[in-house]
């Protein structure tokens, strides 16, 4: 455990329930200020892992450190450092949004002045000012989720655990929610998030997949695509003459050393690459500039395919 910039460090985490091993020798590190996607099928051990990371469940074996706190020895201490939001946002139905906020602020020990300042900023940023006197039952799911995010960040935690924060939320509010998550990360907060909307993995700096409690893959979205997909296809189509253009030949030569495949097609060429590379992208861009009629289309392997590839592996 010596990665200095890792704010979450779990080492050899194992949790057994009787004969059943829910989490099996899991080691993860989450860099400070990053957005970390923790993905896996239903029942793969995600929730058990999160419950251990936030000090609600003691691992059978293993070590956990979150923001410098030894979570296993001091499970209560870690709660001042973290915020947690689940799929079912816990709001008191009888209280208005504002009253919920005041209640949570009390639990976190925020005084009136601190609350006023913090809620002022949060309600503005999360577009909650207009609904602060509404009751949770009257609010659409997207607004409830934003309220949940506000509550989980009231005490300015350094680490946010978001367990399926966008489940059942519409596409517009999901996009908005991810803007807010990105803002938190830019402000230095580390975000540990689970989701079944796999396109959301692309908003994350690092993605880890678990299956049967074991780590199956861990990398940036680009690394996962390179390893677990057919890779990118970039098609260039234009006048037939273009296929013989010297520019294109130069492109071929520049790309070939990088192990990128280049195929001629009836319309032009197709580039196949495990990942996007600055050099060859720039070369394609140069071609676009000199041949404005060139049609470019990029196929990016979807994250759903990667999830399927990983889940399909024999355990």
């Amino acid at each position: 455990m010596s990665t200095p910039d890792a704010i979450i460090r779990a080492e050899g985490l194992t949790r057994r329930f009787g004969d059943f091993t829910a989490v099996d020798d899991l080691t993860i590190r989450v860099a400070t200020g990053s957005i970390f996607a923790f993905l896996g099928a239903n029942g793969s051990g995600k929730s058990t892992t999160i419950r251990m990371l936030i000090g609600l469940l003691t691992p059978t074996t293993g070590e956990i450190e979150v923001d410098g706190v030894d979570v296993i020895r001091n499970p209560r201490l870690v709660r001042d450092h973290i915020g947690y939001m689940g799929q079912k946002v816990s709001l008191y139905q009888g209280l208005s949004v504002r009253e919920n906020v005041e209640f949570y602020a009390g639990l976190y020990g925020l005084d009136a002045a601190a609350l006023r300042e913090r809620w002022g900023a949060l309600s503005e940023r999360l577009s909650l000012r207009d609904v602060e006197h509404e009751h949770p039952a009257d609010l659409p799911a997207g607004v409830r989720q934003r309220t949940g995010l506000a509550l989980s960040t009231l005490h300015r935690p350094r680490v946010l655990f978001l367990d399926e924060p966008t489940a059942g939320v519409d596409v517009h509010n999901r996009a908005l929610f991810w803007e807010l998550i990105a803002e938190e990360a830019r402000a230095g907060v580390t975000v540990f998030v689970t989701t079944h909307f796999l396109e959301e993995a692309d908003y994350c700096d690092r993605v880890c997949f678990i299956e049967s409690g074991r780590l199956e893959a861990d990398g940036t979205p680009a690394e996962l695509r390179a390893r677990w997909s057919q890779g990118y296809r970039v098609r260039l189509a234009g006048d037939a003459a273009l296929a013989d253009a010297p520019d294109l030949r130069r492109l071929l030569e520049r790309c070939a050393p990088d192990g990128i495949e280049l195929r001629r097609t009836p319309e032009g060429v197709e580039i196949a690459a495990g990942q996007l590379g600055r050099e060859w992208l720039r070369a394609v861009g140069d071609l676009q500039r000199t041949h404005p009629s060139l049609r470019v289309s990029v196929d990016e392997p979807p994250m759903t395919g990667i999830f399927r590839a990983l889940s399909g592996r024999p355990a």
Binding site: A121, G142, R156, E183, A187, D202, P221, G285, E300, R308
Partner: protein, 353 residues
């Protein structure tokens, strides 16, 4: 509007001016919808648009007002007992008998529908095989994973061979493999049953034969996914480069750019058709942005995400909701807030005694 042709005489949905009030609150403000034949109808739209209420109306669970409200030929304004025996309904929070096994849960449903013995087995077994639940028939329903519970609820709803099945977000919180299985079942059944399903997943919206887009209790768009995509008055561009966020921000400086947003590897840029200077010009402008954040630019067909966001923005004008994603109003937080948040990083500041 009349959607699709009849595969066989399945009288589907025929709604004109369907209105649903809850006290003073109007949940549905006059829905017109005509769907014939077996197919998959997706109910989409923002949270609070009335999707769940519409499904509950179709299930005969709510009293409605309408000029016409026929479901499978039964009038929702009259006695719906017969209708209820012809449909399967899986609400968002459905109830399984947690202490009963998978098999026992299905038996309860079967008995309620007058299915016994061999006939029960003949219907249940293929569905259990198909959903991958077969190895778990003796497991308590309460011990199933979220995805398996959803599958059990759907198997249960399909057991009596309904002519209409209503599924309210059946895959919320369900992993992609279980979603694949659930959708495979729906696609197999769609020739014999009208499937009405609400969903927030983009790929599932794409898999529907027809969509009805609800907003604020109104059906503001109806058609196939392709028809709805074609109706979007936008052009969609993608800009690829090292810093998608910088590319998205820089693209906003182009006067004709309507919205711009970064995702992992690229920026998505939308231009109103009415404002576009033409594809070649847009691409040239993106490639020429100051500091060259864009290495490659492409125009792509409108996808489901852009279609839904566009429909959402279209009627989102005056309800006080937040601005659309990617608009300049979503820029970084104010300097005061940022400074305050950053100060939290100093050692010890985050921990209270």
């Amino acid at each position: 509007m009349r959607l699709g042709e009849t595969h066989r005489p399945v009288p589907g949905l025929r709604l004109r001016g369907l209105v649903k009030h809850f006290g003073a609150k109007v949940a549905l403000r006059g829905i017109d919808l005509e769907v014939d034949g077996a197919r998959i109808l997706g109910v989409v739209g923002p949270d609070g648009a009335g999707k769940t209420t519409l499904l509950r109306c179709l299930a005969g669970l709510l009293e409605v007002e309408a000029e016409e409200a026929l479901v499978l030929g039964h009038d929702l304004r009259g006695d719906v007992t017969a209708l209820k025996s012809e449909l399967g309904y899986v609400p968002q929070s459905f109830s399984l008998y947690r202490d009963l096994s998978v098999h026992e849960n299905l038996q309860v449903t079967a008995r309620l529908n007058g299915l016994f013995g061999d006939e029960f087995a003949a219907r249940a077994n293929p569905l259990l095989e198909r959903t991958g639940l077969a190895p778990f028939v003796d497991r308590q329903a309460g011990a199933l994973s979220g995805g398996m519970k959803q599958k059990l609820a759907i198997v249960s709803a399909l057991l009596s061979r309904p002519r209409l099945i209503l599924l309210d977000e059946p895959t919320a919180g369900v992993d992609v493999l279980a979603r694949d299985e659930i959708w495979a079942i729906l696609r197999e059944r769609k020739h014999e049953v009208l499937v009405v399903v609400s969903t927030s997943y983009l790929e599932e919206v794409e898999d529907c034969d027809l969509l009805v887009y609800l907003d604020d209790g109104r059906a503001i768009a109806t058609g196939s996914p392709a028809e709805l995509r074609a109706s979007v008055p936008l052009e969609l561009y993608r800009a690829w480069g090292d810093e998608p966020r910088a590319a998205a921000a820089a693209a906003r400086s182009l006067p004709y750019v309507f919205a711009s947003r970064a995702t992992g590897s690229h920026a998505r840029i939308e231009v109103r058709r009415a404002d576009t200077p033409g594809t070649e010009r847009v691409i040239a402008d993106l490639l020429a942005l100051p500091e060259r954040p864009v290495l490659v630019a492409e125009r792509m067909a409108i996808d489901t995400e852009s279609m839904l966001l566009s429909l959402a923005r279209g009627d989102r004008g005056g309800n006080g909701g937040p601005p659309g994603p990617g608009t300049p109003a979503n820029a970084a937080p104010g300097p005061g807030d940022r400074a305050a948040a950053t100060s939290n990083r100093s050692p010890g500041a985050g921990a209270s005694p």
